[in-house]
Amino acid sequence: MADKKATRQGYGAGLAELAKKYDNVVALDADLCGSVGTKEFAKTYPERHTNAGIAEANMLGMAAGMARVGLVPFAASFAVFCPGRAFEIIRNAICYSKVNVKLVGSHSGLTAGPDGGTHQAIEDIAIMRCLPNMTIFDPCDYNQAKQMVEAMYRIDGPVYMRTARAATPILTAEDTPFEPGKVQILRKGKDIAIAAIGVMNAWAVEAAEKLAEEGIQATVVNIHTIKPLDIEGIRKAALESGGKLVVVEDCNICGGVGEAIACGLFGQPIKLAHVAIMDQFGQSGEMDQLFELYGIDTASIIAKAKSIL
């Protein structure tokens, strides 16, 4: 088994490195520095760190203000609150005028586990996808999350990155190139393509390995950039893999990436299957138990793949 590390820690490590390089990088938190990975930044750069307290809406309003005076703010909390609680601030104070704010939502999907359904953000992608001017990243592992921080900095405009609570397998090397807006092929196979977002790539890779044991060769497509979505890259990967595609996401089927892909591939000779949460809230439990219960675990991916083979 590969080493495991949480993408939220990748954010923290990437931010600390970025701050070393650029004086205009500032960070905002909402009383969750320890959870979202920003403790090191807060300790090293107290003068560039702003803790909003338990007030996510104001954290993002203040971030917009800091961006407007020339800083590059990174604001993080749990994804249910950032973006969840602060949606309309993000819409009007950030996206409407394309203000250069970077948002990070940790504990996305079901990875918040025992905290329960109140803390499991399964709608963050849906509510960020529908905002003009927003870019959305979802790193497949710690290394990619770390690299993404600098990519976020280089984009002039709002970016949302989602991170996960749980330590998940490292799938890429520290120096694996990260190209925003282009899908990344983690594995090649001729029979079927499995396209996954974020840490779900680890489950997609595991499913591909198990399918290989049965003689089925699967491509794994890492959709690290959810918006703008690389539909052409996904289409090409699917057509090169038997015209079959399973989309895997750890969020609600309503408004998720699967919908975006189905829309983009409309009319293409591609058979689609979808692994996602079926329009219901989560509950307390260990992550693996929840993945199984809500049908987004490795076995579910394999079953969905076989349903279109």
Partner: protein, 268 residues
């Protein structure tokens, strides 16, 4: 400018506001007229800002009560940020004078506003950002009294005190009315001065149509504390049939009403 010159400027700008809202056929005359003297005091006397200012080298203004856009547009046109005749494109398709101020479209607008409460939070972020950068410039934020019903304002004010933002002045245009009626009837703010004091602000309460008082209050500076000016104003100020009428919060006058309004303002 002398007090008399500021008064004359305010009279001229109020006429522009009424005319542009009439031409637009919609808009918010009541709160534009109530806030005009405050804007004139800031832009023609207090703030270090001009059309030639380099980015990042000027005081910042946030009209958190963004529906008073006509008052801001009248000032910015007069200050030369865009041609005077553009004021008659207000709210029309393709205009840079949007129904609520849009910084991406209109020069001189430091912050897009209109969603109430957000301007206060952004202004606090700006002031904190200026402090982080060691900038000497000041942030002025004007909000409505009804707007203070938004909880976000108070999250922002708490942060302003926490981060000792003495480079921030919040001015409340307290005209006492909101769309549904009297602020006190809809959701009372109670003792607003005490609330701001309790939130760590230095507070001045003044007559928001008295230039001497506005300019004096703008000089208040308490090191380590954000500053609040509660400016008691009259909604629809200067127009006989609009004064103190909640119904003129968001309705445009017709041509005859406009003519009467201009006459009232000329006689102010």
């Amino acid at each position: 400018m002398t007090i008399a010159e500021l008064q004359e400027k305010a009279r001229k700008l109020r006429i522009d506001e009424v005319k542009m809202i009439t031409e637009a056929g919609s808009g918010h005359p009541g709160g534009s007229l109530s806030v005009t003297d405050i804007l004139v005091a800031l832009y023609y006397s207090k703030m270090d800002v001009s059309v030639d200012a380099e980015p990042g080298k000027h005081d910042i203004f946030v009209l958190s009560k963004g529906h008073a856009a006509p008052a801001l547009y009248a000032v910015l046109a007069d200050k030369g940020y865009f041609p005077q005749e553009d004021i008659y494109s207000l709210r029309k398709l393709g205009s840079h004078l949007q129904g609520h101020p849009d910084s991406a479209k209109l020069p001189g607008v430091d912050c897009s506003t209109g969603s109430l409460g957000q301007g206060t939070s952004v202004a606090v972020g700006m002031a904190r950002g200026l402090k982080i950068q060691g900038s000497p410039y000041h942030v002025y934020c004007v909000c409505g009294d009804g707007e203070l019903q938004e909880g976000l304002c108070w999250e922002a004010f708490m942060s302003a005190a926490q981060y000792k933002l003495d480079n921030l002045t919040v001015i409340v245009d307290r005209n006492g009315l909101q769309i549904d009626g009297r602020v006190d009837d809809v959701m009372s703010l109670g003792d607003l001065s005490a609330k701001f004091s309790a939130f760590g602000f230095a507070v001045d309460t003044i007559d928001g149509h008295d230039f001497t008082a506005i300019l004096a209050a703008l000089e208040t500076k308490v090191p380590g504390k954000p500053h609040c000016i509660i400016a008691n104003t009259t909604k629809g100020r200067g127009v006989s049939f609009m004064e103190n009428q909640a119904g003129w919060h968001g309705n445009a006058p017709n041509k005859e009403q406009c003519a009467q309004a201009v006459k009232d303002l000329e006689g102010m």
